[in-house]
Structures are given as C-alpha cells and as structure tokens.
C-alpha cells in the first residue's frame, strides 16, 4: 500500500515552499487593497482589444481631465455642497490613478473618489472619448464603482470579522461532528490549520500577483476566501470521516497506520470531488467574463490548495500531534517509543 504518512514531512515541506515566498511577498506589501477597502473609484474602461493604449497614457489622460474639471469648478461662482466637498477633497488629497490592463480590451483604473453628483464623471468620460475614441476604439459606456471612506472602513472590518466567524462556526461544527471520537478538538484544530494553510496560499499567490502584475484584492476576493475556507473543511471532513469509521472498526490498529489506510481509501474520491469543481471553475476562468476573472482565480487556487491540504496536511498533523503526545507519555513512563509503520492488510 502507498505509504503517505511516512512522507508526511515532505508534504508539509512542499506546502512551506509555496507559503514562505507568499508570506514574504505579503510582508513586502504585495497585497494591494482595492477601493472596497481604501475608498475611491474604480473604472472599467473598454478599448478595441487590438488597440489598447498604454497604461501611463490613460493615467495621464485621467489626471489631466480631472484637473481641467476641478479648474472649471474653482472658477464657478456658487458651488453646491457636493462641489465644495469635492474641491476640499482634491485639495487635501492628490488625484491618483493606477491603471491595470486586463484582457479583452478591458482596463481597470483605480482613482481617487469621484463625486458623481458634480458631473465630474461625465466630464472625464467626455475628455477620454475625445482622446481615445477614434484612436483606440474607446467605449464611452464605462462602468464605475465608487466607495466612500465610511463604507470602505466597514467592509474591511467586516471582512476580518467574517473570516473569524467562518472559522469559529466551522470549528464548532467539527467539534460536534467528531463528538464521538476521542479528542474532537484535536480534529477541529487540525482542520483549522489546514484551512489557514489554504488562506495563506491564496493570500500569498495574490501578494505575488499584486507585486508583479498589480492585481488588487476586493470584497469579491474575500468572498472567494470565505468560500475556499468552506471547501477546505469540506474536503478535510471526507478524510476525517473515514478515519472516524476506521477507528470504530479497528480499535486495535496503530494510529499512523489507520490514518494512512484512511487516506489511501479516500484519495481517489477526495481528488475526484475537487476535480469536478476545478473543471467548472477552469471553464469559468477561460470562457467567463473578464470582470470576475481574478475572483475565479482566487477560488481555483484556494480549492486546489484545499484538496492538497486535506489529504497531505490535515491528517499528517493529526499523526504528528499523536506521536508527540505518545512520546511525551512514554518519556514520563521512561519507556521506548514503538514502531509506527503501517501494518494494515493490503488491497490493490
């Protein structure tokens, strides 16, 4: 029989190989929070896909257009309340733009907060039209999302809270699901560690993408993260469930052997259940709309990581924990540790 448990440190090592660079990039500030967290406006500009202008050209065009609008506004004799707000905002904060090309002629540009009510957007779009319509096939029917600082702060707070809430809910649920097994909290804790592994992998990958390609994270990214957390546990449960069953059937068997046996038994279906999901997500990534592509990518990375961690991390941690505890007990008793090689019967 395939000895997976014997290679447990290798599997954990492979995880570290992805997580450590990811963490490094996170520490380097690779995660780029989008307007959902910082406030501001996000523009979806569409050009003819063969004639997309350079990003710095678009950025300059936006800055110029806004400056021209603000100048007109300053000259206006009786600005309304929103107009006054806008002038004050632009005075205190420079109007910054960061353009990031996507595919299919889409360019996503993040700018300072646009005050719709003042007609600022219309003025900018008109100016962009003049500049890019004939030359680059600019579509003046732009989409724009504006998030004020209040909502951005709340989304940030709630994101953190939601991740915590999901983790807690899953932990309680696991404890309940494994209430009849010895040490239910241990199972729950291992599932949570595997889940954190997946969260770190997704965050790490997006930190790398953010540093290298300017990919931003938004509320949808958090949605993907929360979904991944659910899936991660979903996969882990399949393995733990079999373990639970085997422990009842073969109470005399050694723990590592039992884990290995359960893993081999469930390997095919763990991979298969994830495969079907990966198939549909890949189709969505390749053929679906460009605006949700990074959302789908986050799901895809997370689910692949979730499958890996449920097979190669969660159960391995259980074994390591168990071993460590046995060693401690034996040290107390002064006895020698026993061999932990798999001794289950073979099936092929």
């Amino acid at each position: 029989m395939l000895d997976l448990v014997g290679k447990r440190y290798w599997f954990l090592g492979l995880s570290m190989l992805i997580i450590i660079p990811g963490l490094l990039f996170i520490l380097l500030g690779g995660l780029r929070p989008g307007i959902d967290f910082t406030g501001g406006s996000s523009w979806e500009l569409r050009f003819d896909k063969t004639r997309v202008p350079a990003t710095n050209e678009v950025q300059t065009a936006l800055v110029d257009a806004d400056a021209a609008f603000i100048k007109d506004l300053q000259a206006k004799p009786n600005p309304t309340k929103p107009e006054q707000d806008l002038l004050a905002l632009r005075q205190s904060q420079k109007f910054e733009t960061i353009a990031q090309p996507s595919d299919e002629g889409l360019m996503i540009v993040r700018t300072g907060e646009i005050k719709d009510v003042t007609g600022e957007k219309t003025a900018i779009v008109n100016s962009l039209s003049d500049r890019f319509k004939d030359k680059n096939g600019f579509n003046p029917d732009v989409s724009i999302t504006t998030t004020g600082p209040t909502v951005a702060g709340e989304i940030t707070l709630r994101s953190v809270f939601a991740v915590g809430l999901v983790s807690l809910g899953i932990l309680l649920y696991l404890a309940w699901a494994f209430r009849r097994v010895k040490q239910p909290w241990r199972y729950g804790a291992c599932a949570i560690i595997a889940m954190l592994h997946d969260v770190l992998v997704v965050l790490g990958v997006f930190a790398i993408l953010g540093k290298l390609f300017g990919v931003e994270i938004d509320a949808l990214f958090v949605t993907a993260l929360l979904t991944v957390i659910g899936f991660s546990v979903h996969d882990t449960i399949v393995v733990f469930d079999r373990l639970r069953e085997n422990q009842i059937r073969h109470p005399a068997e050694s723990f590592p052997a039992m884990v290995n046996y359960s893993l081999v038994q469930t390997l095919a279906r763990s991979v298969n259940t994830s495969l079907t999901t990966i198939f549909t997500l890949s189709a969505l990534y390749l053929f679906g709309g460009a605006t949700i592509r990074s959302f789908v990518l986050a799901l895809l990375v997370g689910i692949i990581s979730g499958t890996y961690s449920s097979i190669f991390n969660a159960s391995m941690l259980l074994v390591i924990w168990n071993e460590w505890e046995a060693k401690r007990k034996q040290q107390r008793r002064g006895a020698r540790p026993t061999a932990t090689a798999p001794t289950m019967p073979q099936i092929r």
């Binding site: 004799p77 732009v142 909502v151 809910g169 649920y173 979903h234 298969n272 999901t277 198939f279 549909t280």
Partner: protein, 512 residues
C-alpha cells in the same frame, strides 16, 4: 418487494412532475403566469452588471434620524424613481440603525437625471421674488434656515444659526465653503439678496398637485394645493403682492418663476400658455409636478458609494457565462461517464435535472442574477456531482469486496450519507456568513453568489441522492433478474479481476 417497486414508481413520477414543472418555468420565456391562484413572476431578473444600471448607497447626515423618517424618505425616493419609468427599482433601508438607503436601478442609463432626483434633498420653497425675474437654475439664498418661512418659524432641519451645520450654511449661503471662506451664514448669495420664504414643500398638499389644462389655450398647467392653515398665509401674501414675482426653489435653485396673477388660498395653478403648449413644455410641466409632489425629502442624504455599469456589456457577459457553463457542464458530465460508466451516465441525467430545477427555482423566487451569482451557479454544477462521486466511490469499494450489485448500490448510498451531510452543512454555513458579509457592499453581487451557491447545494442534495438513487433502482427494475449486462461490475468502473471473491478475503480487506 411489491411495495418497494410501488415506492420507486411513485418517486419516478414525482421526479417527472418536478422536471415538467421546471421545464414549464424555464422554457416558456420571460412572463408572468397565474399559478394556483397566485400571480407568478417568471421573468429572469438580471442584476446591474448584466443589464447595466445605476446603484447608489445613501446615508442620512443626521445621526439620530428615526426609522419612520427614513421610511418616509424611502417612500419619497420610490415615488420619484417611479416617475422615471424604470424597470424594477430595488430600494431598501439598510444598516443597523436604518440610516441608509440603497437604490438599485437596473437598466437606467440617464444617471444624471437619477442623481438630480435622488441626490437632491428636495427642500422645496415658494419665495417672494419682488420685482426680480429669476431664471431657472439660478442659485438664490432664502430666509428659510435663518428666519423660517412666513408660515413657520425656523425649522430644526437647518440646525441652529449660531452653530450652523454644513447643510444650513449651504442653503443660506452656498459660497460659504467649510473653512475656506468663513462668511456668516446670512450672507446673501449670487445677486446679494436673501429672499423671504413664503411657504415650504411641507405645506403643499401632494394629492392636489397635478397636471392640468388651460381651457382657453389647451396648454398644460401645473395645479397645486396648499394645506389648511398655510392657505391663509399664502392668501394674505398673494393678494398683497399681486403683480410681483414668486419663484419655486428646490435646494436653493430656482426651478420655476412666475408672476403672481391673483390671490391664491387652497388651490393654485401655474400656467405658461405659449411655452407649455409644446411637447417639450408638457415634459417640463410633468417634471415640475413631480418635483412639487415629491419634492420634500424629509432627511438630508450623503452618497456613500455608487456603482454605474454600462449597458452594452451585459449581453456579452451573459453569452460568456453561458459558454463557460455549457463547457463546465460538458466536462463534468464526460468525467462522470468515463470514470463511473453506467452510474455516471445516470448521474449525468440527474445533473441535467439539477440544472433545470435550480434555474427554475431562481426564476420562481426572483433570484437576481449577477455575474458572481452565475459563477456561483456554475461552481455548484461541479459540486452537484460531489455527492455522486462520494456515493459511487463507496459503491465501487463495496463491489470490490464482492458484494452483489444491488446491495453495493444500497450500501454506497447509506455509507456515503454522513460525509455528504457534513460537507454540505459546512458549505451552507459559509453561504450564510457570506450572505451577511455581502449585505454591506450595497450591491447584490456577493449576496447573489452566496444565494445561488446555497440553493445549488440544497438542490444537489435532492438530485444527487434522490434522483440518482431512483434512476438506479428503476434500471434494476427494468433489467429484471436476467439483465446481466447492468449487473456486470465493469459497468460500475470496477475491473472484475479486482473483485475479492472469498468471504475470508473480504473480512481481511476491511469489510464488516
């Protein structure tokens, strides 16, 4: 035995009925139907990102605003937006203290107009303009916030004059920028005058505001009514100022100005025989009526966030999602067929049932479809067969242990249930939290994803377990005892060579 056959036939009929109902819902086009005495709206509802539109999240500036007032504000906005003739606006109170109003207007392209309707707080005033002929759109200062109207003393809405809120400063003196230009609140704007407010929108009777016709010229007129006590004030003023100008001001901007032709008490009319006889004039009258009727928004609102989606992208997104869904469904179906063979084929049939039923549920309950929502649905296609994968894998194991096929099928379903239940519950918990999380972003994007994923998971439990099980049982029933083909383990993805034949091997291999 006989009752088992009967139960199976009943399940089959039940499934058939569900499929027929789902097909009827899905394939009749977008429509409303009378179903079992209630009106059923069977139109697929597309979110902003699919059909384009405008969404805006507003918050009351006043922190202690009561829920009733917010509700009143919501009603006013609903009415104003209703006047635009948009399709299916969604306007809801949000936030823990109901201080927010979310307005979603799918399909709205004229955002400028929407903004002027929603964004304006609509402080409506009739002012005494004396001899001044004020132009439409002109900014004027009024006595409303400093001294009140002729009918009412200074209202609380403006704040105290000693410590004016930004709102008060704006209305009284629009060029008094916060800090930048510290002019006293009463400093006149524009032409240097502070006009006396006669009455405000609160004293108008909305039920009497309407479009009328001048019987002599046939031109459109604006009819309005003044409420009880204020009518006296209004009559006193109009009778003593006949021949002078009066202007209607919304948020400090003139929207209409006219000569006072005579005394008005409870009923008045504004006419402009030459200009308002044209089609453009008619539109102007209707607009003015709308503003008079719903002009007074009881709270001042700030824009917290907004989202405008271009209308031209929707169809492209739908087409792309459809292709992605079809490809995803195809690959999953092919995989199930190749890996599990005969049961895989039945699971594929169940998957078609799944897609039909889930989509019908979306239509039935009016789930708003967004790009992320469709992603959730497509994702759930992959998950829908999860239960089947778990069951059939168990089934394979039982077959390898040498169990007869029918028993292996039953054991597969029974043994796989605990892990199916556990994993689905964990996804449902996640969906519930996602739904809560998504409530904040104002748009239905995240909630749409959570909702479609949740419904997908629930539906897949039905199709992957009940439907597949019934199909398998039906197959055995039809094949009968002599149906050796369906009983060959190869059809279940198990090579006969790997089947353990002897009972002793079975026990050793971990069977019970």
């Amino acid at each position: 035995m006989r009752s088992r056959v009967r139960n199976n036939i009943l399940s089959l009929i039940g499934i058939l009925l569900v499929v027929l109902l789902a097909s009827w819902i899905n394939f009749g086009g977008d429509r409303t139907e009378n179903f079992l005495g209630s009106n059923l709206d069977l139109r697929a509802k597309q979110g902003l990102d699919l059909q384009g539109g405008y969404q805006i999240l507003l918050q009351a500036r006043d922190k202690n605003v009561s829920k009733d007032r917010m509700q009143a504000a919501l009603d006013v906005i609903s009415k104003r937006v209703g006047g635009l003739g948009t399709n299916e606006p969604v306007i809801t109170l949000q936030g823990d203290d109901s201080r927010r109003i979310s307005v979603e207007l799918p399909g709205v392209t004229d955002e400028q107009k929407v903004r002027s309707l929603i964004g304006s707080t609509g402080r409506l005033e009739f002012i005494a303009a004396g001899q001044d002929r004020l132009a439409d759109g002109q900014t004027v200062a009024t006595s409303y916030c400093t001294a009140g109207s002729m009918f009412q003393p200074r209202p609380g809405l403006c704040g105290t004059p000693a410590n004016p809120t930004p709102a008060a400063a704006t209305t009284a003196a629009p060029n008094a920028t916060a800090g930048a230009n510290p002019t006293p609140a009463a400093t006149p704007a524009n032409n240097g005058k502070v006009y006396q407010t006669v009455i405000t929108g609160a004293e108008l009777d909305p039920s009497k505001v309407d479009v009328g016709f001048d019987q002599n010229t046939g031109a459109n007129q604006v009819l309005f009514g003044v409420k009880g006590d204020a009518a006296n004030t209004f009559q006193n003023f109009t009778s003593s100022n006949t021949g002078q100008q009066m202007a209607i001001v919304l948020d400090g901007k003139v929207i209409s100005a006219a000569n006072i032709a005579g005394a008005i008490s409870t009923q008045g009319q504004i006419s402009n025989p030459t200009a308002w006889a044209t089609a453009a004039g008619k539109a102007e009258v209707q607009n003015l009526v709308l503003q008079l009727k719903y002009g007074a928004l009881p709270v001042e609102l700030d824009v917290l966030s907004s989202r405008k989606v271009g209308a031209t992208l929707g169809q492209d997104s739908i087409d792309r999602s459809f292709i992605a869904g079809a490809v995803g469904l195809g690959i999953v179906a092919l995989f199930m067929l190749l890996y599990f063979r005969l049961p895989g084929l039945l699971a594929d049939l169940a998957l078609v049932v799944y897609a039909l039923v889930t989509f019908a549920i979306f239509k039935w309950f009016g789930v708003v479809l967004t790009l992320a929502g469709i992603a959730g649905f497509i994702l759930s296609i992959g998950m829908a067969v999860d239960a089947n994968v778990l069951i059939f894998s168990r089934m394979k194991e039982e077959l390898r242990l040498g169990r007869p096929i029918e028993r292996a099928v039953e054991d597969g379903f029974r043994n796989a249930w605990p892990s199916i239940r556990d994993s689905n519950i964990s996804t449902m918990i996640t969906c519930a939290i996602l739904y809560w999380f998504g409530g904040l972003t104002g748009t239905s994007v995240i909630q749409g994803f959570a909702l479609t994923l949740f419904l997908g998971v629930v539906c897949s439990l039905f199709t992957a377990i009940t439907v597949t099980h019934t199909f398998l049982k039906t197959m055995f029933m039809l094949a009968g005892r002599r149906g050796t083909v369906v009983r060959h383990t190869w059809w279940y993805g198990v090579n006969p060579v790997h089947v353990v034949r002897r009972a002793s091997d079975r026990a050793a291999a971990g069977g019970d």
